[in-house]
Structure formats: C-alpha cells, structure tokens
C-alpha cells in the first residue's frame, strides 16, 4: 500500500480508533463508482412499456427473448450493475403494482414450468435489459402478457469489475 492517502473519520470519531467502520473516506480503498460522463449514460431511470406478446411453443426448453435496451458500456471488464424494476402498470386484477425488485422480475404467467421474466444481463461489452419467455417443463405453449405491463427501470453500470458475466435468472 502507499504511504500517502487521504482519510477522513466520521463525525465524532478519530482516525486512529482502529475501527475501519469509523472511517468515512479512505483513498486506499476502492469505492463503488459510476462515471457521470459516460456515453451512452451509465445510469438512467426510464419507463419500459415495450414488452410484446412473445410466445413459446409446447416443447420444453423453447426460449424466446426480446432485447429492450442494449448498451455498449465500453469498460474493459464486466461491470457491477445495480438494476431495479418498479411495476407501474400490470394486467387487471394483478397485485404487483408498486412492487420493486432488483435484478429481475417475473411476470404473471410464471410458474414452475413457464418463466416469463424481465431482467438485466451484462458481459464484457454489453449491458442489456431483456424480456424472455421460456418453456421449462410445460407440455403446452405460453404467450406472454408483456404488453399489459409497464415498469420504471433504474440501472446503474458501475466502474467496478465483477468476475464473470451475469446472464440473468434463466439457465
């Protein structure tokens, strides 16, 4: 480590108290950071209402997806991301409005045999928001009710490297 650093303790604490948790800022540590000048932007809040009625057939394993957002993040690694889906509209009778879930959200048709989901994924080059429909075990097909859903999507692509791509909840 360097001999030089900028440290600041939290209010009422001393720097030499021996407890890292009393340190408000230590330049020797990495921080979760987001680039304010990234192009395209690395953080955004937007309304997502472009989900379509993608359909899977009766064959288990059948998978269909639509990419709603695709960004070249231009970072030399797989970035850590924070993504939240806030349900602002849902099919009539659905109780999900107001729900707020990180990383992925399962739409109403999801069961043990069908997975209809909106999620994010990221790899070394791209960050994407994806709507996917997958027949996992069902003997019948399924058509997504995606057009009836609306989300406020918040995403932040951070300048912190993760170890591997995050591919979303579907295997």
């Amino acid at each position: 480590m360097s001999d030089f650093a900028l440290l600041a303790s939290t209010d009422g604490k001393t720097l030499n108290g021996g407890n890292d948790n009393d340190i408000a800022y230590d330049s020797r540590h990495k921080h979760l950071q987001v680039d304010l000048n990234a192009d395209p932007p690395h953080m955004n809040v937007y309304t997502e209402n472009r989900l379509t009625a993608i359909a899977v057939n009766s064959t288990p394993g059948n998978y269909v997806e639509e990419v709603l957002v695709s960004i070249d993040h231009k970072l030399p690694f797989v970035p850590r991301c924070a993504v939240y889906f806030y349900v602002s509209n849902a099919p009539v009778g659905n109780t999900n409005i107001g729900q707020y879930v990180g990383s992925h959200f399962y739409l109403s048709g999801t069961s043990g045999s069908i997975s209809d989901v909106i999620f994010y994924r990221v790899n070394e080059t791209k960050f994407e928001i994806v709507h996917a429909n997958q027949n996992i075990l069902s003997g019948t097909g399924y058509t997504s009710d995606g057009p009836q859903w609306q989300f406020r999507v918040k995403y932040m692509i951070q300048n912190n490297a993760d170890s591997a791509p995050y591919l979303g909840p579907l295997v």
Binding site: L6, H31, Q33
Partner: protein
C-alpha cells in the same frame, strides 16, 4: 473529525470541520447530497477486500462442517457479496456451490471470518468447492446508521471540467493523473462515489404479518440491499457457532418489495419472512433517483 483540507476547484470546508467535494461544475456550497462525490459527514461504500476465492473441502465430518472462506478481520459484521464462477453456480448467482452430497448453506460473516457450515449427508466423500470473487464492504450492516442530509438551494451546474479533484487508486499501479478510466481513481469529480443512506436491522414475524418494513423517507424507491441475520443454534447436530448471530450476503431480490417514497415493505415470495434482516440503503445519484 480529524480532517480539514482544501483541494482544487469545487472543494469547500464545512462547519465546523470536514470537507466536501462536489461533482464537476457544481458549486460546493450549493451542492445537494446527490451532487457531491465526497462529504466527510457521510460514510461511503468502500471496498475493503475484493479477492478471488477457491476453497475445496473434503474432510467431511458428520453434522455441520465449518469451512472458513475468507478472513476479513474488520471487527464487525460487514456487508459482503460473492460473485460465483459460472462453472460453479449452474448459471444462478444465488448458488455458489454444486455438490449433491451436501445441503446448501448460505455464506455467513462474523466479526472476523466468512464461513459456510454445510451438513454432510454421509453418502459420499465428494469434495465441495467454492470458487469466485468475494467483495467485502466497509459497512457494518447490522449497526443503526442514517446519514445526515442538508437542505440547500440548488443552482444549475456548469460544464466546466477545468477544475476538480482526483485521487488515484493506490491499487492501480500504472494509473496516472489524466487517465480517463474512472476505475483508476479512488475519487474523481467526474464520477459519483456511492455513499450510504442507512443501515440497520429490522424484524419480520407473526406480530407484523411477516412483513419487513424499512422506513427511509428518501422520496423515491431507493437502491437497497438486504442480508439475512442467522441466529445459529443446535439442531439435530451441534452447531460449532451455536449462540452466535452472523450476517449473510447482501441481495436485492429477497421476497417481494412494495415501495413508496417513504418505506419499503418486504413480504416472502415462496415462504413467509420470519426473523431479523439487516439492510443497506444507498444515496442514489441524481441520474438514478426517481
């Protein structure tokens, strides 16, 4: 507060002591919380450790097996996360080992170590392997904390980039001032360092309809992470850490959350929430708040 400093550009001294640094182009005396990259009145989400983990274990004993994955040595139970190597997670980031001969056990941290305590089912000597990257934060997630905030009159920022403050990350050996790669800096007024809004512990039980309620009053649904608190106890087998409460990994998709501008209420998705949970809410940058 021990520090008083003056850097270049948009840096100002607070009363009575301390320092704050605003984002580029924003007057530090008029900067709202979300327009600052450093305020010594806050705690930032610092990463104390980011290390590769590759632990194999095959010395199985009947009952609980105590496996230390990492020594953080922080003296408190920290917020931490683990990014499994895809080859060991079956594509599911919530799973970090795939061994059919042991029961899954969540990672748990005490004041010194991060462990797992899998139970051997006595049918195999297959080795367990945990492989991935551990990230430990300088955050005592179980402590009650809420960051102070200031009410200020906002004024538009300028596009000036001539002035600002940067601190190179000492771990980025080849980094130089002038690099455009934000990840090479510990602090940079062209970037936003994420700071803490609050931490603490809340309880879900039958008395509150198994709902976990976090009142935040932030004004919008904020970035959140939740970690289960595990009160370790003996069961069929003697637990090596019985009587001790440890904290699990942070997650942002626990149960179902109903969010308002005032609070977030979690309910169980497949099973009712029951017990204590630690939380970590973040101060969101302006481009992310909403």
């Amino acid at each position: 507060m021990n520090l008083a400093m003056r850097l270049s550009g948009w840096v100002g001294l607070m009363s009575r002591y301390g320092a704050k640094v605003s984002q580029q182009g924003v007057d530090v005396t008029r900067a709202a919380d979300y327009q600052k990259v450093l305020d010594t009145g806050w705690k930032f989400v610092e990463i104390t450790h980011q290390v590769s983990i590759d632990v194999s274990y095959s010395s199985w004993a009947t009952g609980y097996n105590q496996i230390i994955l990492f020594e953080h040595g922080l003296g408190y139970r920290p917020a931490f996360e683990f990014m499994p190597d895809p080859g060991w997670s079956m594509g599911n980031p919530d799973v970090y080992f795939n061994n059919p001969n042991t029961l899954f056990d969540d990672m748990k941290a005490d004041e010194r170590y991060i462990y797992i305590f899998p139970i051997w089912n006595a049918s195999s000597t297959t080795a367990l392997r945990v492989k991935g990257v551990m990230r430990v934060f300088n955050v005592d997630i179980t402590a009650e904390y809420k960051a102070p905030s200031e009410a200020v009159a906002l004024e538009p920022g300028s596009d000036q980039t001539k002035y600002g403050a940067k601190i190179i990350d000492v771990n980025a050996r080849s980094a130089r001032m002038g690099d455009t790669a934000i990840q090479n800096y510990s602090m940079n007024t062209n970037a936003k360092a994420i700071s803490l809004h609050s931490t603490g512990v809340r309880t879900a039980n039958a008395g509150n309809s198994n709902k976990l309620t976090i009142t935040h009053n932030i004004g919008y649904p904020p970035t959140y992470y939740i970690a289960t608190l595990y009160a370790l106890a003996n069961g069929t087998y003697t637990h090596p850490k019985a009587g001790i409460t440890m904290v699990g990994r942070i997650k942002n998709n626990i149960g179902r959350a109903l969010a308002t501008n005032i609070d977030i209420v979690f309910t169980g998705a497949q099973a009712a929430l029951n017990g204590d949970y630690a939380f970590m809410l973040l101060k969101d940058p302006v481009g992310f708040a909403g």
